[in-house]
Amino acid sequence: MTAQTNNHLHFLSASRTHPGAWWISGICLALSASLSSNLWVLLSISALAMLVVWVCREDAPWSKSIKFYLLLGSIVVTLRVIFRIVFNLADSKTDAFLNLPSISINLGFGNSFHLLGNVSNLSIQAALVDGCRLAAIILSIGMANSLANPRKLLRATPGALYEIATAISIAINLAPQIISSLKQVRRARGLRGHSKGTKSLTGIVIPVLEDAIEQSMQLAASMSARGFGRKGKRTRFQMLVARLSTFLTLTLLTVGIALLLFSPTDQFIYLAVILSGLVFAGITLKVSSTKSTRTNFIVQRWQLADAVVIVTGGLILFSAFTGVLA
């Protein structure tokens, strides 16, 4: 079953759009969620992320990962609410949402603390918002991960990150492989009979692991035999520039984040520092990339659809930032 037969080949289909567009948009959504404390906004962002995946996904193993992100999101919300009910700061003044018997525990030092008790509407709501914010962030990233084809993304990564990106893309591919190999091995093991004790586990685990390692080695051998790993030469000057700009990037980003955390009111200073850090990050990548001598035969061009995806994400972030979605 291919993407083509799955009839989702419309304007915004993931198989036609740039994987980077989904990541930029996903990060915008995640940032908007982190800035908002309105339950409805957070729920809308989550719903939007899932809807986009549903409409734009292609029939590929990574598209199915959104289910796991949804599961993770629900677990986060549930845990958050349960924790709030259990570790409750009892408050008898506001109207109660749940009135549970309070348990107080005295450890023999300091104040005794209370579990359960009278859970107020306000605190439940706060817990829900906290949980939903995390869930919305998880789903936004999940959206990007489900829609961006890791192999296309690999083509679009700058040369300096190519080795890392290759490793990640192989790892992503390995997961569905391991699942199918697990099924195959379990069935094959049934042909031999049941072992007793630990052997029954090793009987499954060893062939599956062996298979996974063998497949990875085979892929690695094939890549190596086709020239992966060749490196060009860099001049001393390029090395110097690369090191210097790496240092500047790290320093600026660290300072910028520190400013953001400690004096978030000076918006323009921390924004300026972080932005200049990002500029140097770009320079670092550019300079470091000259060492790899690859051709990019198939260049994924940025198209109108990608612009639509990015602008939508950007607009949502902008409105969150300016307080429209407060």
Partner: protein, 531 residues
């Protein structure tokens, strides 16, 4: 093009420090000229793959071990270089292309090698155009590789190996997983590459009967470290891997031996030998009966409703192209595979209804990837565990294994056995259970002729103990050797159910090599020929 001087290769001993005393390759001296089409063969486990891998640095880079001597490719000594240093000179294609694919679209896969070597875009575009036309892939460039047939995938792998301008192509059993049509497509292309494009082709193969007529020379990796090179007719004194055409020549005393079917045919017509009729065993008792057995995957019907009776005292071959439903039918009969509908009756009931432990006493099966059944750390442990599983006296499996594979150090890790030895091991583990029905799915993959003969002898012994054997395969010569009855599966439906001569005899689509050579009615195996 390729020259080796005193090339030696040894794996390390298990302590990881010292060279093993038995080198895989010992002082190998070869000269292969440009555009030569070379067949690399040798008995199971002799180190054909290792030999190929030393020619592009994958050994020792990916296998471990120590390499010494000189390896000149296109005049450059590349001994000890990493595989990527070879990539503009040597292309490499292995047994399972799907495992070695880097990209998911055909075009991306083909250009990968050229991109790594920074070939400029105009040249890549030109090469893609030329190679894809040559390989018949020009209509498939935008298709996902996973949707292609095995033969098409192998052609993509060949194009991808040649894109960076390689003048040497190494292929490690490229046709072993392909059906007849896919295999002959690939072989024709390889011949074209060597004759018209001047590519030096080194092809390691087990199924040499179809290859031997088209190659320029044969390299034999003997397994004791020695490697010899010569003309096809001179290289097959060792009958362990001689194909039927050579066996026929030897039996009838042809000098020199014929290596193409045409040569053999004219020799046969000059002096045809006498031959006897091939007798098949009559069916014994009904061992297994399927009723309306059907397998579906989603909306795809893999096996159409099947009514099939299998009898004891017989070996039934299940033939058919890749994807015709052989494996699905085997698993459905065995009981642990999916069934859409239908039942299977044996003397002990439907295997699907039995517990795993009871089922293996009724139907045993050797699956396609035999190594999935191995999980212990030494051969001795596996053999011992098997005796316990099957409740037979200690040492029974070991005796059986030795009969199939010869004497092998029992401290060996099962993963270090060759494909053929692993199959022999799994076969012994399964045979020792003594179930009345035995199913084998592609058992001859990676086996040389002598290992196939050993397997055939074992199956014959089983048959005479009134066992029912179902053999799913596309190995025509093996079916000719052992089968009493042949089923042909096409698109999930049994389209033929007959005695072997009607499927493998002269003029048939699946004619055996002896049928093709002699063109005599009723003659299709070497055993029938009397001199």
């Amino acid at each position: 093009m390729i020259e080796t001087r005193n090339l030696c290769f040894s794996y390390l001993n298990s302590d990881g420090k010292q060279k093993s005393e038995n080198p895989q390759l010992n002082r190998v001296n070869l000269k292969i000229s440009a555009g030569e089409f070379v067949l690399v063969c040798g008995p199971t486990g002799s180190g054909k793959s290792t030999f190929l891998k030393t020619l592009n640095g994958l050994a020792p880079s990916f296998t471990g071990g120590v390499i010494t001597g000189e390896l000149l490719i296109d005049g450059r000594n590349l001994i000890g270089s990493e595989p990527y240093e070879f990539s503009h000179l040597v292309g490499y294609v292995n047994q399972q292309p799907e495992g070695a694919f880097v990209a998911d679209i055909v075009l991306d896969e083909i250009v990968y090698g050229a991109e790594q070597l920074a070939v400029n875009k105009e040249k890549i575009a030109k090469d893609v155009d030329r190679l894809s036309k040559l390989m018949g892939l020009d209509m498939l460039l935008d298709k996902p590789v996973a949707t292609l047939s095995g033969g098409q995938q192998q052609r993509v792998a060949i194009a991808a190996a040649l894109i960076a301008g390689a003048k040497v192509l190494l292929l490690d059993e490229p046709t072993s997983a392909l059906d007849l049509q896919g295999a002959s497509e690939v072989l024709n292309l390889l011949r074209q590459l060597s004759q018209e494009e001047g590519v030096t082709v080194l092809l390691a193969e087990h199924r040499i009967s179809r290859v031997i007529g088209v190659v320029d020379s044969v390299i034999v990796v003997h397994g004791d470290g020695s490697v010899t090179q010569g003309k096809p007719a001179e290289q097959f004194n060792d009958s362990r891997f001689a194909p039927p055409i050579i066996e026929l020549g030897q039996k009838l005393g042809w000098k020199p031996l014929a290596i193409t079917n045409q040569e053999a045919n004219s020799l046969w017509r000059q002096a045809p030998a006498k031959y006897s009729e091939k007798l098949v065993n009559p069916p014994g008792e009904l061992a297994l009966k399927t009723s309306a057995l059907e397998v579906r995957f989603g909306s795809v019907i893999a096996v159409q409703p099947t009514e099939l009776n299998l009898y004891g005292n017989q070996i039934t071959a299940l033939m058919g192209e890749n994807g015709s439903g052989k494996t699905s039918l085997c698993w459905a009969i065995q009981g642990s595979g999916p069934r859409y509908e239908g039942t299977v009756n044996t003397l002990s009931g439907d295997p699907k209804e039995l517990s795993v432990q009871d089922r293996i006493g009724v139907v045993t099966m050797v699956p396609q990837r035999a190594s999935d059944l191995l999980f212990l750390h030494s051969l001795a442990d596996e053999l011992q565990e098997s005796d316990i599983f099957a409740k037979v006296p200690s040492g029974t499996t070991a005796t059986l294994f030795q009969k199939l594979a010869g004497r092998i150090d029992t401290s060996t890790h099962p993963r270090d056995l060759s494909a053929g030895q692993q199959l022999a091991l799994v076969l012994s583990l399964q045979l020792v259970k003594n179930a009345p029905v035995l199913i084998l799915d592609e058992p001859t993959r990676g086996l040389d002729y002598s290992a196939k003969r050993a397997l055939a002898a074992q199956l014959n012994a089983l048959r005479s103990s009134d066992r029912c054997v179902l053999l799913a395969t596309h190995d025509i010569e093996f079916v000719a050797m052992v089968a009493d009855r042949v089923l042909v599966l096409k698109e999930g439906q049994i389209v033929a159910d007959t005695i072997p001569v009607n499927v493998l005899g002269a003029g048939c689509e699946l004619a055996s090599q002896i049928s093709e050579i002699t063109n005599e009615p009723g003659l299709f195996t070497i055993e029938q020929v009397t001199n």
